[in-house]
């Protein structure tokens, strides 16, 4: 190839590249001019991720980037739009960020392109107090000029900066009052006291920050069942990190809490029965101020719901003993994440009974005797209830009206639940009182059921008697009728004869 042709080909390739690639396009007149004016926005834009992808000011603001004078460059007839505000910003960003084809093919980006749809479904999509725009647009969190990738430590959405970014609004009481007067504004402060917050402040970008639990674009109200922080979704949200052994490696805690919790009485109530009264992770550990409850505070945490049990325990002799031995109060017997439904098996001096852990050694000790005696009482209540249930079911199966006795069985069940609470007093006499009352109720229910069963047999025998009488009467009547008709037939024949 001679030099003439080589020069022609080079020129052609340069023209082609300048035309096709935004990065290689002509000099950005807007930026040049605004840099000359020492406009801070121009300085910010120089670091912007979009600048690196070849975007110019005109791509968002419109106008002619190649014009040399300002009036031509910012001529509305040339498409100049000025400074977009409010929802216009979101619309502007979404022209590319909602266009998967453009994102992949033109900009070689692997970013998701559903942010606008997610934002529209989020709590931030509500109308702002001015009534003209949504509460949040893209620039609210990402800034307008100088937008940086999320991995850049200077980005406002970098994990270590997220709390500050969210806190701009959420820590501003006067601002938040406009939208939700009841919402707390101390989340950031609380977060800074939590394990997550402390590690985040020390530069650990792996720990949870606002977006880790609430999401980023798709943030919904905590009352929304689709929210990641709605009670039934909280365990899964927490487990997204805490059940990942690789992710949790280095933190010195186990990663089986969710697995255990799912099997627990609390987990089953929340996750299987959708009972949002049951505790999720945050109910014991806190949410923004998430911290594991310590030995001293476990009973207070459990006691927020199990108040009677906590009160009885606090008045019992065990309180002092546990404090001295530095044992967590509830957790010692019931466990933490895998708390199973309490039953009589926990009580007593058998191998499976928790009392035997401390009192199993000496059969002559007061603790051993009390535990054994309380277990006997609990078992007698259990037997009495099962017997009464059996009788009531038998009577019901026989078709008897037994609703009163069935209602009393509910009282008996209530007495059992009450006895399970009273166990925490570790006072045999008080426990006996509850059990005695419960057994008395089962006795009444059983007696009513027995009466109903007796009544059932009385009815059957009554029917046998009544049927016998009716059959006897019918046969007598039939014989009388036959006799009457025979007499008449004979009379008729005699008169005919």
């Amino acid at each position: 190839m001679n030099g003439r042709y080589r020069g022609f080909l080079t020129t052609f390739v340069l023209i082609f590249l300048l035309h096709c690639s935004p990065a290689l396009r002509a000099q950005d007149g807007c930026l040049t001019c605004h840099q000359t004016m020492e406009d801070p926005r121009a300085a910010l834009f120089l670091k912007d991720v979009h600048k690196a992808k070849g975007f110019s000011c005109a791509d968002c603001h419109g106008g002619n980037r190649n014009a040399e004078d300002m009036e031509t460059a910012m001529d509305p007839d040339a498409g100049f739009r000025g400074v977009p505000s409010g929802d216009e910003i979101t619309e502007m960003c979404s022209t590319c960020h909602s266009d998967g084809s453009a994102m992949v093919k033109t900009y070689n980006s692997i970013l998701p392109w559903g942010q606008k749809a997610l934002l529209e479904a989020s709590v931030h999509n509500k109308l702002a107090s001015n009534g003209k725009e949504r509460i949040v647009n893209c620039a609210t969190c990402h800034n307008a000029h100088g937008i940086l990738p999320v991995e850049n430590p200077a980005s406002p959405v970098y994990p270590l900066n997220v709390t500050k970014t969210c806190g701009k609004c959420h820590s501003d009481a006067s601002y938040m009052r406009i939208y939700n007067p009841t919402i707390a504004v101390d989340q950031v402060d609380k977060y800074r006291t939590s394990v997550h917050g402390k590690k985040n402040a020390s530069g650990d970008r792996k720990v949870a920050e606002c977006a880790s639990c609430h999401g980023s674009h798709e943030i919904r109200s905590a009352k929304d069942v689709k929210s990641r922080v709605y009670p039934t979704n909280v365990p899964e949200t927490c487990s997204s990190c805490h059940s990942n052994p690789e992710y949790m490696a280095g933190y010195g805690i186990e990663s089986d809490q969710f697995e255990k919790y799912s099997k627990s009485v609390h987990g089953k109530a929340l996750l299987e029965k959708n009972d949002i009264g049951a505790p999720a992770c945050n109910d014991c550990h806190g949410n923004h101020a998430a911290t594991p409850p310590g030995v001293a505070s476990v009973s207070n945490v459990c006691g927020t719901c199990h108040a009677l049990n906590a009160d009885l325990f606090a008045q019992s002799p065990h309180k002092e003993a546990f404090d001295e031995a530095d044992l967590p109060e509830c957790e010692t017997c019931h466990g933490n994440h895998e708390i199973v439904s309490a039953s009589e098996k926990l009580l007593g001096v058998s191998d499976e009974a928790v009392c035997s852990w401390c009192h199993g050694g000496d059969p002559e000790s007061k603790g051993y005797k009390t535990a054994a005696s309380m277990r006997l009482l609990a078992d007698s209540m259990d037997r009495a209830e099962r017997r009464a249930i059996g009788l009531v079911e038998d009577a019901e199966q026989k078709g008897m009206e037994i609703s009163d006795a069935k209602f009393k069985l509910r009282d008996a069940r209530q007495a059992i639940l009450q006895s399970r609470t009273m166990v925490h007093s570790f006072d045999e006499e008080r426990f006996r009182e509850v059990i005695t009352a419960g057994i008395a109720v089962t006795a009444v229910a059983g007696s009513e059921a027995n009466e109903a069963i007796d009544e059932y047999y009385f009815r059957r025998w009554g029917l046998v008697f009544a049927t016998s009488m009716l059959i006897l009467l019918s046969i007598s009547l039939y014989v009388y009728i036959r006799k009457l008709e025979k007499r008449k037939e004979t009379g008729t024949r005699n008169s005919a004869g």
Partner: protein, 359 residues
């Protein structure tokens, strides 16, 4: 004993001349033929009505006809009142047998064409009593104020409400308002224990007097074939004693049903609860209910449900007026058309009732 009874008879006879009645009854004969068995169903219906009156009065001693207390009072009767379970179960079972016996009696009269001249009034009073029996069933069903009764009444009165022009006022009148409430219960209670029994007793009186006055009708084909050949049975005491024998059997049947299948009470009605799945009316309304389910929602310009109700109303009216349009039977001529219509109606009711239960 016999002597004492004679003295008592003479004492009464001196005052009210019982011998006239005995003489009248002594002259009354019932024809004996291959279809005589159908004569007994009138007596069985009467017996079941008497059972209903007696058990109904006993239930009234404890029943409380209000929204708050109706269910509880029935529960009390079933569990606490001595033999209350028996009285309530007998009342419920006898109600169903009453409808069945009345239905058999009606169809036997239809097929033997006993409605023909001169017994048109007897048929008319019988038909009116039959409609009242259905009214007894419908109104009595609500009285325990349980879930099934509540929704069955709601559906039943809803159906009445779709009749053009008069439907809505009828529905509001029946319910005592727009919805089934305690006001409906009070009304139905009033209908069940006062209005219907009052009218029924008058009609029953006329019906019985006419039966006694005109005697039993012989089936048309037997009459045309020369009658039963003079084979008769004295009404008193022979026929009455046979009636009594059947009544004893029915009484025993009622006792067996009440003991082995006590009538359930179910759950108390709750207006805010969803209707129980697969809710169905009592068996005697089933064929109509099932028909309405099969009729398309719209038939040309007429609403399907309205069409169904109109159809049943017209059919019921024509059935009631059969003595007046069946001219052949009135003239004593054979009328196959009447038999075919009757067979169709019986087959239709049986088939649709079965389909209703299976669906």
């Amino acid at each position: 004993m016999k002597k004492r009874l004679n003295i008592l008879y003479e004492w009464v006879n001196d005052r009210v001349h019982l011998e006239d009645l005995v003489e009248f009854l002594g002259k009354k004969y019932v024809p004996v033929h291959s279809h005589s068995v159908w004569y007994y169903f009138g007596g069985v219906s009467l017996f079941l009505f008497i059972i209903q009156v007696v058990t109904g009065i006993l239930l009234l001693l404890y029943y409380k006809g209000s929204e708050e207390l109706a269910f509880e009072s029935i529960k009390f009767i079933m569990s606490k009142v001595a033999f209350g379970w028996l009285i309530r179960s007998v009342h419920s079972w006898a109600a169903n047998l009453f409808v069945l016996a009345a239905m058999i009696h009606m169809f036997s009269v239809y097929f033997t064409k006993a409605y023909r001249k001169p017994r048109e009034i007897t048929w008319l009073t019988g038909m009116l009593m039959f409609f009242l029996v259905l009214g007894f069933g419908f109104s009595g069903y609500l009285l325990p104020w349980n879930e099934l009764a509540f929704f069955a009444t709601k559906v039943g009165t809803d159906i009445a409400g779709v009749i053009p022009v008069i439907g809505k006022p009828i529905m509001v009148f029946l319910r005592g308002g727009e919805d089934v409430t305690g006001a409906t219960l009070s009304r139905f209670f009033g209908f069940h224990v006062a209005v219907f029994p009052g009218i029924f007793t008058v009609l029953l009186g006329i019906h019985l007097i006419l039966v006694q006055r005109q005697g039993m009708s012989e089936p048309l084909h037997i009459e045309r074939g020369g009658g039963s050949g003079g084979k008769t049975m004295p009404f008193f005491p022979n026929f009455l004693l046979r009636d009594l024998l059947l009544w004893l059997i029915v009484l025993n049947l009622l006792a067996i049903l009440a003991v082995f299948f006590p009538w359930e009470l179910g759950q108390k009605a709750d207006a805010f609860a969803p209707a129980p799945a697969g809710i169905k009316p009592e068996w005697y309304f089933m064929f109509m209910f099932q028909t309405l389910k099969y009729i398309p929602a719209k038939l040309w310009i007429i609403d399907g449900e309205v069409f169904g109700i109109m159809l049943f109303s017209i059919a019921g009216l024509l059935w009631t007026l059969v003595p007046f349009w069946d001219a052949k039977s009135a003239r004593g001529e054979k009328s196959r058309r009447i038999i075919y219509i009757g067979i169709f109606v019986v087959m239709y009711i049986i088939a649709l009732t079965i389909l209703g239960w299976l669906s």
